[in-house]
Structure formats: C-alpha cells, structure tokens
C-alpha cells in the first residue's frame, strides 16, 4: 500500500494522529448520516464511484491513523483491540455502521412516522406508504382469541389469570408444605389447569355455553398448546432418559425404540397422523377431541428430544456419585431422585430451554389439522378479501409476539441456571 508509513502513528506523534484520525472517522460517519437521514450529499462534485466510497475511504484512513498498541488511552485501546486490529476488521466495522445508518430512516418511516393506526377499515391505510397498524388493531381480538365468540373472551382471560395465580402458589408454600412443592407442580398443577381450561374455556356446564375447540385459536391457543406440551413432555422425557440408561434390557430397548422413532419422524406428519389416522384405530363410538390429540402428539414428540437432552446430563455425572449413593444404601429411585436427577437437570437447563423454545415455535404447525393459533389466524386474515396486502404487518406483529415470549423464557432459564449454580 502507498504511504502506509505516513499513516502509522508512533507514540511521540500519537496525539496529533488521534485528532486527525478521529476527525476523519467522524467525517465519514457524518457524511453517511446526512445522506441517509436528510438526503444531503455535499460530495456531488466527486466522480460517482468515488462519491459512493468516499466515507469508507476516509473512515479507513482515520482508523489506520489511530491504530497504535498501548496508546495510553483506554477507549482507543479498546477500539483497537476489538474492532480496529487490522484493515479488514476496520472496513467491516465501518460497513456495519454505515448500513445501520442507512437502514434506520426507511424502517423508522415505515413502522412509525408514516404508519397509520386510526380508523377501522382498510380505507384509512390507502393514503399512506407506511405500515397499516389499523389492520392489526382491527384483527387484534382474532389474533388473541381466534374464532372464540367475542362475548366470551372474558372466560379465556379469567382462566389465564387464575392459572397464573395458581402458578405462584409455590412461592407461598412454607414449612412442611414445602416438601410437596414438586408434587404440586408436577401433578396437581396440570390437573388444576386442565379442570380450569375445561370448565371455563371449553364450558358446557355451570351455565357457561360450550365452545368447541375448533373455535379456539390465536395467541391463547398458542399458550394452551405450549403449556400442556411443556409440563407433560418434561416428566415423560425424564422417564425415557432413565429408561434408556436402565440395566433392564426390556426397558432399555423400549426407550431406545421410542426415542429413535419419534426423533425420526417430522412433527408435521405426527400431527397429521394424530388427527387423521388415530381416530381410525379407535372404536367408532369413542371420541377424543382434536385439540387433545394434537397436544398429546406434541408431548410424545417433544418428550423424545427432552429425553436425549436429559440423558446428556446423566452421562456427564461422574460414576462416583452413583457409587456414593449406592454405598449409603439408597435404592435406584432414591438415588435418582435425591442425588442424580437434581444434578443432571441442573446441567441441562440450557438444553431443556432450547427444546422448550423450539416447542413454542413449533406450535404454528397445528394449522395442518385445522387449528389456528396466532400465525394460523394471520394466514386467515391476510387472505381475507377486505384486507389483502397487509401480510408484512401481520408477520412483524407475530415475530414480535414470539420473540417476546421466547426471550422471556430464555431469560428465565438463565435465571434458573444462576439460581441453581453450585461449585463442583
């Protein structure tokens, strides 16, 4: 490269170089900022190609000028170590900064400045180039509750509030009750949840009108499917993981067979089977609700994944833990419950969180059997003749919803990891 030595700072002249370099970097970024936000280009006198690359070139020169090891300035040192350690990285950094600057104004325009949320019809959106949040507003109840009758939405809300309240019962268990906390969450809570959902959301008794599960949908259905999926696939997966490591050949091979079978088939086929094939095996007068069949299919499917994650944790434990538990006279179950599983489960929290996030994000697949949770409702709304052409808004809305749910779950798993962390 030409003149590379002139651009190299030394510790004696570094101050001067730092001023000039920073000024050049600032100029480069400021130029892109002006072009992007205000559409002003002061460099039109330059030839086209040079005009385009000018900010990048002066930015690179600027970064080159401040690149000195142990400059004595902590900020500069940090920049040099992380993003300015060679010309390639410096270039990438500048390009990323420029692209961000270029993307922000149009995105901001579309999402907020030019967007509409007023009115109740498509006409409100015709005049503008921006996003049509009116569409989300009008369809909001459908996205949340599906085709569930509008008058009964309070039933879903009440059910969820009661369920959340019951979820917090564990925090208030003190003294002797504390011994039953696992029993409560593993067995009692799912039963309570089922009863509440059955009586409040499904209805049919206590003067509440019956609403068939076909009408359920939207985000509330996402929650119901994920909720039962999560709480049941975990214990089943745990048993399968133990089964696969069992010394009894029958149990071992049944577990292996189960896990390998369910891991080998795609979820979408499993859902199809549950709704199309499964009823054929039942006696003609027996009837299992479609939603229950679908949830059962998801549980059976995800349990295989959970099992393998937990098995990973079991295998990570040193053999000495088993020896110690056995030498104290513990039988198989006592050893597993008090010594092995608490340690193994702690190890696999990240893996379990992974599987659970995947489960939540797999719920939209239930559309193949005609159940429409939030993405399913989106599909329905976007093909509605009155509201054609607003798919983008819908997808962004769904993305934000799913992201918020999954991020919360991820944060919670990190909290658990920290809470149960012990030194080995």
């Amino acid at each position: 490269m030409i003149n590379i030595n002139i651009l190299k700072p030394t510790s004696s002249n570094f101050q001067t170089y730092l001023y000039i370099g920073s000024a050049l970097i600032f100029l480069g970024i400021f130029d892109v900022f002006l072009r992007s936000f205000f559409n002003i280009n002061y460099l039109t006198f330059l030839p086209d190609s040079l005009n385009l690359f000018f900010p990048l070139i002066i930015g690179l020169i600027g970064l080159q000028m401040i690149r000195l090891e142990y400059s004595g300035n902590r900020l500069v040192d940090k920049i040099n170590q992380n993003i300015n350690n060679n010309s390639f990285n410096a270039g990438l950094t500048l390009i990323i900064i420029f692209l961000t600057l270029l993307i922000i104004p149009p995105a901001l325009d579309w999402m907020i400045l030019e967007a509409t949320i007023s009115g109740d019809t498509k006409e409100a959106c015709v005049a503008t180039e921006g996003a049509c949040w009116t569409y989300i507003k009008v369809w909001f109840r459908r996205f949340m509750y599906g085709m569930y009758p509008n008058d009964f939405h309070w039933r879903i809300n009440t059910a969820f509030i009661v369920l959340i309240a019951f979820a917090f019962v564990g925090y208030f268990m003190r003294g002797k009750l504390k011994n039953y906390i696992t029993f409560y969450y593993a067995i009692l809570y799912p039963i309570i949840a089922f009863i509440i959902i059955n009586f409040l959301i499904s209805g049919g008794s206590f003067g509440l009108e019956w609403v068939e599960t076909n009408a359920w949908g939207g985000l509330s259905l996402t929650f119901i499917v994920s909720f039962f999926g999560l709480i049941f696939c975990f214990p089943l997966g745990m048993i399968l993981a133990l089964g696969r490591r069992s010394e009894l050949p029958i149990i071992k091979y049944i577990s292996i067979g189960y896990i390998e079978f369910w891991r080998g088939v795609p979820l979408i086929t499993v859902l199809f089977m549950s709704s199309v094939m499964f009823p054929m095996f039942l006696p003609s007068d027996a009837f299992v609700d479609k939603l229950i069949r679908v949830i059962a299919a998801i549980i059976l499917f995800e349990a295989a994944y959970v099992a393998e994650v937990i098995r990973g944790g079991l295998q990570a434990l040193p053999r000495g833990q088993y020896d110690a538990a056995k030498s104290l006279g513990m039988g198989y179950w006592k050893m597993q419950i008090f010594v092995i599983l608490p340690q193994a489960l702690k190890l696999v929290i990240p893996g379990i969180a992974n599987t659970f996030l995947a489960l939540v994000k797999d719920t939209p697949l239930i559309f193949v059997v005609g159940l429409s949770e939030v993405v399913g409702m989106l599909q329905m709304a976007k093909t509605n003749p009155k509201w054609l052409g607003y798919a983008m808004e819908g997808y962004i809305f769904a993305s934000i919803l799913f992201w918020a749910i999954c991020y919360a779950m991820s944060k919670y798993s990190q909290y658990l990891e920290l809470k149960y962390k012990t030194e080995r």
């Binding site: 104290l328 006279g329 513990m330 008090f338």
Partner: protein, 244 residues
C-alpha cells in the same frame, strides 16, 4: 472377637478377559482393622468394592454379616446401609450442603426423623472437627475437609463395617494427616475397618493385620508387626523396600 463379619471364599472376578481377582480368601472378624496394600492395578479397590457389591464377583462366595452377596440377594440396599464406604475422590453430593449430605441417607433410607438425623449428623461432624462447616457446600471446602465430611456422612448411617478406598490418595500432603487422625480415632472407637492405602505409618499404628495383594491375588497376610519386620514373600519384600 470370634465371629467373622466378612467372609470371602474363592472369589474370582473378571473385567472382560482380564482377571482382576484370583481365588481371594479373606476373613475379617468384628472390630478387626485390616490394611490392604499393593501396587496399583493389583485389585485392591475391586476387592473392597465387592464387599458392598459396587462390583459384582463372578465366582466364589462373599458373606457379609451373615448375608450372602449374589444376584439373588434382594435387599442389597440393607446390606450396603450397614457397610460404610469412603472413596478416593470423596464423592460428596455437590448440590447439597455438608449437613444435608450427612442426613440424606439416614432420613430417606433409615427413616430417621429429620431433627434426630440432624442432631446425630452434627455429632459426627464434631467428631471429625468440621461442625462449623455444616452449612457450606462441598465445593467450598478443602480436600481434607471434604474427605472428613465424607467420613462423617458414612458414619451417619451407623455402619458395622467401614471400607476405605485410598482415602488419602487425592489429597495434598498437608491434608493427609487430618484425615488419618480422624480414621485413627474411629479405629480406637472399635470400628471394623478395611483400608486400602499406601500410608504405611497408618498401617503400623492401627492395623491388626496387613494384606498384600499383587496381580489379583493375596500374596501375603500377616500380623502388622510380622509383616513389616520379616515379610516372607519376595514380592512383598520388594514392595516394602520401594515404599518405605
């Protein structure tokens, strides 16, 4: 001091094709202290792991406190509860505090009420002088403290026999003494002990008899004084000359 509490007759064991134990005959009487020594890979650990059936022997007979150990033994947990064991790597449960480590088995295996179990555990922890560490977790303790906690944990089951599998081999030299002291105290209290160790000082101090093993066989068994003063077997002599 008459009845044998442990009897091993013609015990053989293989790991695959490799024979680890060859025709082991060993009798241990109540309150006897036996030290097992020998070069590594000679089957010492496997021998004592067979006594509480952490390893299964394939041929021969092992009788512990009147119960024969075999595939048919139904209440193996009951026998194990009477045989305490201390491991080379301590094997404390890292997710439980020291006190919980000590009370877990008494509460769930022996069905001792929690309060009583905790009192007894504290007494045992005092014996090994780490009562002040009771609420800490194993990871926060030094190796010597962990090994003493492991000893207390085993004693909380009130075992009739104690097995030690190289209890000081994983410790720093300055911590070995505190563990050995705790073991000496236990020996003086009259516990039946089988100790696999290279600590010949400990053997001389407490052992009634020393067993020397090599290549899966018991090469020599003698009263402690005889063993060190005039070993009969050539192999024993060589071993002693190297280790002393």
């Amino acid at each position: 001091m008459s009845e044998s509490i442990i009897q091993m007759k013609e015990v053989n064991k293989w790991f695959g094709d490799f024979q680890v134990l060859k025709d082991i005959n060993l009798e241990v009487k109540e309150k006897q202290k036996i030290v097992v020594c020998g070069p590594s890979g000679s089957g010492k650990s496997t021998l004592i792991r067979c006594i509480n059936r952490l390893e299964e022997h394939q041929k021969g007979q092992i009788i512990v406190d009147g119960n024969e150990l075999s595939e048919k033994t139904k209440d193996i947990e009951k026998i194990r509860a009477e045989v305490g064991m201390v491991f080379q790597q301590f094997n404390l449960f890292p997710h439980l505090s020291i006190l919980d480590n000590c009370t877990l088995a008494p509460i769930w295996v022996k069905k001792t009420p929690k309060k009583k179990a905790e009192e007894f555990a504290m007494k045992q922890l005092e014996q090994v002088q780490i009562a002040d560490q009771a609420s800490k977790f194993p990871g926060q303790l030094s190796g010597g403290q962990q090994q003493r906690a492991a000893l207390a944990r085993a004693l909380c089951m009130e075992p009739k026999i104690m097995l030690f599998d190289e209890p000081t081999s994983a410790l720093d030299p300055e911590m070995i003494k505190e563990v050995l002291d705790a073991m000496v105290n236990l020996a003086k209290a009259g516990m039946t002990m089988i100790v696999v160790t290279h600590e010949m000082g400990f053997a001389k101090e407490v052992a009634d008899e020393v067993v020397f093993m090599d290549e899966g066989m018991i090469v020599e068994r003698a009263k402690t004084n005889d063993f060190f003063a005039n070993p009969k077997n050539e192999r024993t002599k060589l071993f002693l000359s190297q280790i002393l």
